[in-house]
């Protein structure tokens, strides 16, 4: 299935994949709102996770994305590289996990105004990694 990135449809497609995946459920409960910031394309989304499922995604303003528990901020090329790597290797390789990308960036990829809520990035990191890794099952078309 071919889906454009970035778009609500893309996140919804990944949502459908993980919600029907027993492995995702077995990782455990995950409760977080995750902002997605692609500021150089002025594209912002919020993806909501609750209990054993991803509830869905919606397109939002920059402020709304930054008001999430934490938001993942990368330029478009960064997102493209990460998702391309995930597609190529059926999951992020050693150099493209969310945590690695976060440490590669001096400002961090996972950001938040709230020091407690930002830690949700760590508390549920395996779930978020699994979510993005699941996108290798999509045919992602990058909207240039």
């Amino acid at each position: 299935m071919t889906v454009n990135f970035p778009s609500v449809e893309w996140f919804e497609a990944v949502k459908e994949l993980v919600n029907s995946d027993e492995t995702y459920r077995r990782i455990g409960t995950c409760d977080a709102t995750v902002g997605i910031s692609i500021s150089d394309r002025e594209k912002y989304f919020v993806v909501t996770f609750e209990a054993f499922a991803c509830l869905g995604a919606r397109e939002v303003t920059q402020a709304e994305a930054q008001d999430a528990d934490f938001y993942l901020s990368m330029p478009y090329e960064g997102w493209k590289e990460m998702l391309g790597n995930i597609k190529e290797h059926s999951g992020a390789d050693l150099g493209h996990t969310l945590n690695t990308l976060d440490l590669n960036d001096p400002e961090g990829v996972a950001r938040s105004r709230d020091g407690y809520r930002r830690d949700l990035f760590y508390r549920f990191n395996e779930s978020f990694q699994y979510f993005f890794d699941a996108s290798h099952r999509l045919d992602t078309q990058f909207v240039n």
């Binding site: 609750e50 996990t97 945590n99 440490l103 400002e107 020091g115 830690d119 508390r123 990191n125």
Partner: protein, 420 residues
């Protein structure tokens, strides 16, 4: 008196026991029947001399004889009191499962959710149950909610249960390939440190758990799961150290360990262990995931970071609760932080093996260029640790800590972000 069972074998009654039975006017046929069931003579004599009544003995003996025969119709039920059914606790409670199932926090309905500021009971009485007089006290020392409460304890307990992982089978151990010796030695040294931290955390929490009264079972349950978390961390890092042809390394100087162990209240302990120590440990696990050489190490560090971040969350929420309830303790909290930051820095400076191991792992080797990269990255990690620590304290209600932090840490707050 009921007839003896037809199949009862002849039993010889020892003379001494027969004498006791006669002296206490205890029927000899009951003695024979008890011996036939296997009761040791000296036990039976002791029971008779203690005043056991024949009718009570008859009841127990008949029940056992009926059980041997296997006929439930012959079982004699003991007389029932049933007064306990009139217990004056809240009745008719019906809690329902939610999206995460039936969670601990969802049980806090009605009187079962009344969490008092001071728990008045010294026993294992569950909150909501009815006490009876005369139960011996258990020697708890923590009865005040402010001494251990965190609003997120019940949720963190469930999260710890739901997100548990199994190092033996969940880690793809087979993806670990041979590493250059310096990297394997460095990993072994770092794993040794992580094992120490885990054992210490287990001992510390284990020391405090029995002191906490049962009015705050949410916290006790969370800490019990935290004990499992640290056991798992010890397990997984020991396994990694011994998996790939290497081994463990030198133990650490242990200076900071003592600071944690010497804390005199649970609030101080949690502050030092969860807010300070675990906050910086989380940064090291994040670094571990970053320099991980294979999918196994990636998973180990990612899941270890998940576990320890729950402990940080508890510590922060407890600190926040303390400061909200007892704002006059702010200066006291800063003193604990002053001491623990200082000892942590001193330990970091003294633990040369750990520092060198990190330089090697972050840089990827022993060459001058690699060590240079490692040094730069280590500075970046330290900056990240300091900034994350400060932001956590700000959330907990200590924004002024930014200006009071140990200078070694504070400098990272003043400088520009350094690439990790």
């Amino acid at each position: 008196m009921p007839e003896e069972p037809k199949s009862a074998p002849p039993v010889e009654v020892p003379e001494e026991l027969a004498g006791v039975a006669q002296r206490f006017d205890f029927p000899l046929d009951l003695v024979r029947r008890a011996l036939a069931l296997g009761m040791p003579p000296h036990n039976l004599a002791s029971q008779i001399m203690s005043g056991m009544r024949p009718e009570v003995a008859e009841m127990f003996i008949a029940r056992q004889e009926a059980a041997l025969r296997g006929n439930p119709d012959e079982m004699q039920a003991p007389p029932l009191n049933l007064g306990w059914m009139q217990v004056p606790t809240e009745w008719g409670v019906r809690v329902k499962p939610g999206k995460k199932g039936l969670t601990l926090g969802s049980l806090n309905v009605g009187t079962y959710g009344d969490i008092p500021d001071r728990w008045p009971h010294q026993t294992e009485l569950p909150r909501g149950a009815h006490p009876i007089p005369g139960v011996p006290g258990m020697g708890y020392t923590i009865y005040d909610k402010v001494e251990l409460w965190a609003d997120n304890a019940a949720d963190l307990y469930e999260e710890g249960i739901a997100r548990r992982w199994r190092p033996a089978t969940d880690v793809p151990w087979e993806t670990i390939e041979l590493l250059p010796e310096e990297l394997e030695r460095a990993m072994g040294q770092l794993c040794t440190y992580f094992c120490e931290k885990a054992l210490l955390a287990g001992d510390v929490v284990g020391k405090w758990l029995p002191r906490m009264s049962y009015g705050y079972h949410e916290v006790k349950c969370f800490l019990a799961v935290a004990e499992m978390d640290v056991a798992r961390r010890f397990e997984v890092f020991r396994k990694r150290a011994l998996y790939n042809g290497g081994g463990l390394g030198l133990q650490s100087p242990g200076l900071f360990h003592r600071t944690i162990l010497d804390a005199r209240t649970w609030t101080e302990t949690s502050l030092v262990l969860h807010v300070v120590s675990d906050s910086f440990l989380l940064g090291l696990y994040q670094a571990g995931e970053w320099f991980a050489h294979n999918p196994a190490e990636k998973l180990i560090f990612r899941r270890a970071a998940e576990d320890v971040s729950r402990h940080v969350a508890y510590g922060l929420a407890h600190l926040k609760y303390v400061l909200q309830q007892q704002p006059g303790r702010r200066a006291e909290v800063h003193r604990y932080l002053n001491k623990s930051e200082m000892m942590m820095i001193e330990e970091d400076n003294a633990d040369n093996p750990r520092r060198e191991a990190l330089l090697i792992l972050l840089g990827g080797g022993l060459s001058k260029a690699q060590l240079g990269v490692g040094a730069c990255r280590l500075e970046g990690i330290r900056a990240r640790q300091a900034r994350d620590y400060q932001r956590r304290l700000e959330w907990a209600g200590l924004p002024e800590r930014r200006n009071l932090m140990h200078p070694t840490l504070r400098r990272y707050l003043l400088e520009s972000p350094v690439a990790a």
